[in-house]
Structure formats: C-alpha cells, structure tokens
Amino acid sequence: MKNKTTRWSDRVIPILMITLTLLFVSLFLIIPLISIFTEAFRQGTRAYLESFKDEYAWSAIRLTLITAGIAVPMNVVFGVMAAWCITKFQFRGKNILITLIDLPFAISPVIAGLIFVLAFGQRTALGAWLIDHDIKIIFAAPGIVLATVFVTFPFVARELIPLMQEQGTLEEEAAVSLGAGGWSIFWRVTLPNIKWGLLYGLILCNARAMGEFGAVSVVSGHIRGETNTVPLYIETLYAGYSTVAAFSMATLLAGLAIITLIAKSIVEWKVKRGRRNTET
C-alpha cells in the first residue's frame, strides 16, 4: 500500500512542477515576448517598416549606437584591468574594491541619473562653469553617455573576476619565468583563457547600454531628434499612442535581448566544455 502511494506521487509531482513552471514562465516571460512582435506586426509588414522611415527613429538609433560605442569599450578596458588587478594580486582592501565595483548594481537607475544631474546641473560650481563656457552635459549626449557608463560599469569585471579566480595565476607565472612581458602574457596566455567570458560580459554590457531607460531618461531631457535614445523614443511613441511604431522600435531591442540570451547559452556551453577538457 505504501509503495503504491510513493509511486503515484513520483509520477504526479514532476508533472505538477513542470506545469507550474511552464505556467509561471508563460505568464511572465513567453507571452510578453511574443506580444512585442505581434503588436509590431499588427497592421502588417508595411506598417512595421513604415515605422523606420521616421527621421526621429534614425536619430534615436544613431544616438543609441554612439552611446554604446563609447560606453562599452570603456567598460571593457576597465573590466579587464579591474579583473586582472583583483585576481592576479593579493592586497589589502580587495574585498572593499570588489564591493565598490558592484555598487552601480545596488543603485536605482533613476538615482544614477540624478547624481549626474546634481554633478553637472547649474547649481554646482562645475555646472555654472560649464554653462559659462557653453558646454552642455546634462540634457545632452555627454550626460547620456556618462549615465550609461555608470549603469553598465560592473558587467565585464563581474563576469571576468570569478572566471579568472578559478583559473589562478600558474599559467601567467610560468610565462613570466620564461621571460614574457606583461602585454604578451595578457594577449597570449590570459586572453585565450578568458575570451568567452569576456565576450559574454561585453554582450551583456552592450545589451544594457543600448536598453537603459531610467538613468538615461533622467539626464536626457527628451528632446526629439536630439537626446532621445531608442528606449526613450519608444516611450515617446507609446505615450503618443503610436503603438505600432513603439513596438516596431521595441523589436530591435527585443532582438538584441534574444541574441544576448543565445550568446549566454553558447558561452556557458563553451566554458563547461573547456573545463571538461582541462580535467581530462
């Protein structure tokens, strides 16, 4: 009798758990994802393509590309350096440094935007000086770039630190003893080991840089054709009841998100395989 009930629950519990998971994931992830595309194509392909003929759409795309084009390389260089410093050396205050690097993740995007408005706004000495010299940072492209750099700051470092910690310093030390210099160690020994992790950090950083809304919204001033990035332009369109156009623009970012997820799966697979290869 007891045996029978165990078997019964063995069969029912997995089905129940899988069903609940599917229900939860469908309600919160799958249906919203599909809806982006159905809304964009609601009035047909022509209406979809029509959304991209708008000059404001192109200026928003351009600004988003420029912003990511500056913020991502900066944070990649910083991320690699920070990871190198943290994982290859022992020094006091290391844990504090790691916590500080993670700090932008703990700060609300809106507050991230606010701190740049405060820093460069007309109320500070710096802000007043900038106005006198006719340099615009807030409510202009430089402010958008700065806010984006701030929010995407930890991505690369965060991806690399655990990876490089796991790999240790033995290979680099061997290279040093063979007479290799710092640059050639990095290019020939470290980089091949971390390339997949670095690539994934870069992709994540880029996805966030192109998609950031809260922080950029605070510093941008929402000037159509000038300081609207793609996410801000989506908001403008949506608020103006141009639903199809808003969702058409959204498909660009949704596509980017899907690529990011696929890249993550590939990188995880590569890293796992790399680990298995070094074990055998």
């Binding site: 919203p32 932008p104 609300s108 995007p109 998609g211 949506y238």
Partner: protein, 272 residues
C-alpha cells in the same frame, strides 16, 4: 599570506581601476551626500514624509515584498524543475529565465502593459473576474515579479544541483513523507540561498523604474512608486526633494546589500 606576485601590471591596473571607479562612481555619488548635507533637517524630513511620498513607499515596499515572495515560491518550483527533471524544451526554458536581465525595461514595460490591460491577452481574462490588472497596484506587482524572476532561480540552481539525492532517499526509506522530506531535509539546506535570492529580487524591485511606469498608470496616491516620485520632483526642479528621497532609498539599498553579503557569508559557512 602576503606573497609578492611575480606577474607584472599591478601598479597600472590598480591605478586605472581606482581612478576610473572614483571618477565614474564615487565622486558623483558623494555629490548626492553633499547635496543632502546642505538641506536642513526639517526640510529633509518634510520632503521624505509628505503624504504622497509616504503612499509611494507603501506601494513600493509592499509590492516589492510580495513580488519577491511570489518569486521565492515559483522561483523554487522553476529551479527545482530545471535541475531535477528532463523534458523537451528544458534548455530553452532555462535560457528564457534570464530574459528580464537582457530585455530593456522600457520594452518589458510596454509589453506587460499591453497584455495585462483589460483588452490584452491576459488582462481580459482577469477582467472577466472583475479584476483590473494594468493601471492598478496589481500591475505594479506584476512588473516587479517579472523584474525579480531570475534572481531566486539563479541563486537556487547551484545549491539544488549540489543537493545530495541520497539524503532524501535515506529520509524516505526511514519513513518520512514527501512533505517531511521537503520540510526537514531539503528546505534547511537551501534556505540561505532562498533568502539571498529573495533579498536580491526585493532590492532590485525597490529601485525599478522602466518596467513599472507604463503598467502602473501613475495615479497619485494609488500607483505611484518611489522612483517615479524622484523623477517627478526633478521635473518640477525640486532638486532638494529628489535628493532627499534618493538618500532614503539608497540607504535601504545599502542595508539590503549588507544583508545579502552576510547571508552569503553564512551560506558559505553552512556549506562547509
């Protein structure tokens, strides 16, 4: 313990890291504290305790708490399903869990609003029962659940993978019921991870802006979240008010970050 490394580059990388960190993060952040210091205490108190702001705290903290709670329950179920069972589509499902991380919040915001509006795919179903899902506090809860979804799943997965199946089998062979095994064997070994995931989801929800402002409808005293109050103050050029509210929210985030670090430290000790 302190051993000089023979690898070159410490001076350069340490210098660049600290300089960059100071310029991009620490300096602007200190300006926030500086700006607050220039406020008198009564002004500060008045800004952070106006009735509209108080209503926004209630909604933000309440909705974030329940969203994290929903995520703790369903996140556990999802993590368990992904770790323990093999079924078609599992890998795709696993990859999809990270979608709230990868999807820009504005896109999530308009997508959720469209499907949970009374004319939307899911919203119309709620509407049949007389429940308004978008443009209500429930909408805020939905957006915050979405945004916190990956945290619990991703913190639980490694813990569940390490869980020894033999211990569960032993418990069952000793006559424990399913419920007892779950309550006495599984839960005690995963609860530090569960709490970490819950706190991460809660912390993220508190500061969320993009995905909420569309679905909430921003009705004063009813569906305004605290992040929106900061933006609203800024739009009225009330920099002092915006700063004051930000300092309150920032303090809460730092306390939560401390709790997360402590619970992870504790989890590592339990693990050993």
């Amino acid at each position: 313990m302190k051993k000089r490394s023979i690898i070159p580059g410490f001076g350069l990388t340490f210098g660049v890291t600290v300089t960059y960190l100071s310029l991009i993060v620490l300096l602007p952040l200190s300006l926030l504290v500086w700006n607050t210091a220039s406020l008198t205490f009564t002004d500060f108190l008045k800004a952070v305790t106006s009735t509209q702001v108080l209503a926004s705290y209630r909604l933000t903290f309440g909705a974030s708490f329940f969203a994290a709670l929903i995520n703790a329950v369903f996140g556990f179920i999802a993590a368990w399903t992904l770790v323990r069972y093999r079924f078609p589509g599992r890998r795709i499902l696993d990859a999809l869990i990270d979608m709230p991380f990868a999807m820009p919040t504005a896109v999530s915001g308009i997508a959720l609003t469209t499907i949970y509006a009374s004319t939307g795919w899911v919203g119309s179903w709620f509407d049949r029962f007389g429940i308004q899902s978008a443009y209500s506090p429930l909408g805020v809860l939905i957006a915050l659940t979405f945004i916190g979804l990956p945290f619990v799943v991703r913190t639980l997965q490694p813990t569940l993978e390490e869980l020894d199946k033999e211990v569960e089998e032993a418990a069952e062979s000793l006559g424990a019921s399913r419920f007892q095994t779950f309550w006495r064997v599984i839960l005690p070994s995963v609860w530090p991870a569960l709490i970490t995931g819950f706190t991460l989801a809660f912390a993220r929800a508190l500061g969320e802006y993009g995905s909420v402002v569309f679905i909430s409808g921003n009705i004063p005293f009813e569906t305004e979240i605290t992040s929106l109050m900061i933006v609203a103050k800024l739009e009225q050029y009330d920099y002092a008010g915006a700063t004051a509210i930000s300092v309150v929210m920032l303090s809460v985030s730092f306390v939560l970050m401390l709790i997360i670090n402590l619970s992870q430290y504790y989890a590592r000790r339990v693990g050993r």
